[in-house]
Symmetry: C2
Subunit: 272 residues, 2 copies
């Protein structure tokens, strides 16, 4: 019997989300089928984060236990051989049998990408939120400051969601203004894709855990401020209200990426 | 009566190609329908290059004539309003009525992207050719040298294609080796998409015109050399043979981008 921790990247477009559902294709379902095929029996694969439909992952983590003696390299190859090319296992490692991708997680980091310019980008439409109005990154950064720390984030939770507690700790929130040139030295981008980061604002949020739609509602609220429809001070008042009705709209799933999940042994654990 | 020159970007995935076909959705068909809607009658839109199914464009050029007095900004907005978000008109300008996107073209530049590493990328699968074997960029660059200049490129033409002449001039061919770090100073990439150019080899070819599949067959042949299956000298012999059977395989459409089209008035015309 061996327990494996795997790291998975996926393009969330076209999936119903991480979690297996009655209808539609889920990433969890695809991986369970792939692992089950070489494990020789049905296997439950636990993911660290239940990403919603259309949300992407650069480093989702999942765990499962199988009773066959198989090495990590074979796990990677055998799983990928049965997955569509929109889902890739990047890494696998045998871990302590008490390891559970969700329960053992110490923190997660999400990134949200906003394409901030007049014209949308045909190649990035599934990987950004296109916002045509010019955004004030400084106002957004100043508004975001009160979110850091331990708070009741009920105002940013999906309506109708119910959890044990709505308290969470945001360890860091950073806003990178849109790059108007690709290279730091002001030179022009080279090659057709070298400009992909141009005009993209990235909002990165690390915390011990997140409520359903929490990152997307924070981003939707920050865009209200960045576009001038709200003052920066408004966000702190929304947080204090614990009232979802006062927050901004939920930003689209396409811009959201689960970047990494941190565990105790991980030197990055305190950062996430 | 006004003739317009428009510049168009598109994600070629899922289309039958630029040209209108009996079945399937073409980019030309979409644009003709969009322009026809505000022109008030059916309009023929001529494209500079007939890109194949799955081939992308950063700067395709097309032209059409309408008998309504309408300004360029309105052309851009009215056309985009009727196009799916995988096709965008980037620019429009009124031109001399003798202008024809294909007949007036002086040259074209194509770029081909190869993701050269063991693991594929879930976000780029429709925008690269994934080649797992390590490629020798120096060998490829040395092999490509004899292609520059005016030659009979019959060896690199799609089998069965027939054209008036198979002579073309390649004005420049360059191979950028895969970048193993994102930033020139060796620092690590920042943000989830900052590493998109990492491990990508770009082959750029500029010429006065291209035969069907010519760029993709040149790329497929260069990969034979880069992966060590052929010597660099082999490519010159293939060119001289004018025999398609001797060339390498046709590289997949996904990696190919029509970057720009040059016209007489364009200062870049001599470069393409």
């Amino acid at each position: 019997v061996v327990t494996f921790k795997i790291t998975v990247a996926y393009d969330g477009s076209g999936f119903v989300g991480w979690q297996r559902q009655a209808h539609g294709t889920s990433i969890q379902g695809l991986i369970e089928d792939a692992v089950g095929a070489f494990a020789g029996r049905a296997v439950v694969v636990h993911g660290a984060g239940r990403t919603d439909a259309g949300v992407h992952a650069l480093g989702q983590v999942a765990s499962f236990t199988i009773d066959r003696d198989i090495d990590a390299g074979t796990v990677v190859r055998a799983t990928n051989a049965r997955l569509p090319d929109s889902v890739r296992v990047l890494d696998a490692e045998p871990v302590d049998p008490r390891f559970h991708a969700r329960h053992s997680a110490r923190g997660k980091t999400y990134a949200y990408r906003i394409l901030n310019r007049r014209v949308p980008d045909v190649f990035q439409r599934a990987y950004v939120w296109h916002v045509a109005a010019a955004l004030d990154a400084d106002a957004m950064a100043s508004a975001a400051r009160p979110l850091a720390g331990r708070h009741d984030f009920a105002a940013f939770q999906a309506s109708g969601a119910s959890t044990h507690t709505t308290e969470r700790t945001v360890r860091a929130i950073s806003i990178s203004p849109p790059r108007r040139t690709q290279n730091g030295d002001g030179s022009m981008p080279v090659g057709p894709f070298a400009g992909l980061e141009r005009d993209v604002m990235t909002i990165e949020i690390a915390g011990d855990g997140f409520l359903r739609h929490m990152v997307r509602t924070i981003v939707g609220s920050l865009v209200e401020i960045g576009s001038g429809r709200r003052e920066p001070e408004w966000l702190g008042r929304v947080l204090a209200s614990r009232d979802r009705a006062l927050a901004g709209p939920t930003a689209p799933a396409s811009g959201l990426f689960l970047v990494r999940v941190a565990y105790d042994a991980d030197p990055l654990a305190d950062e996430c």
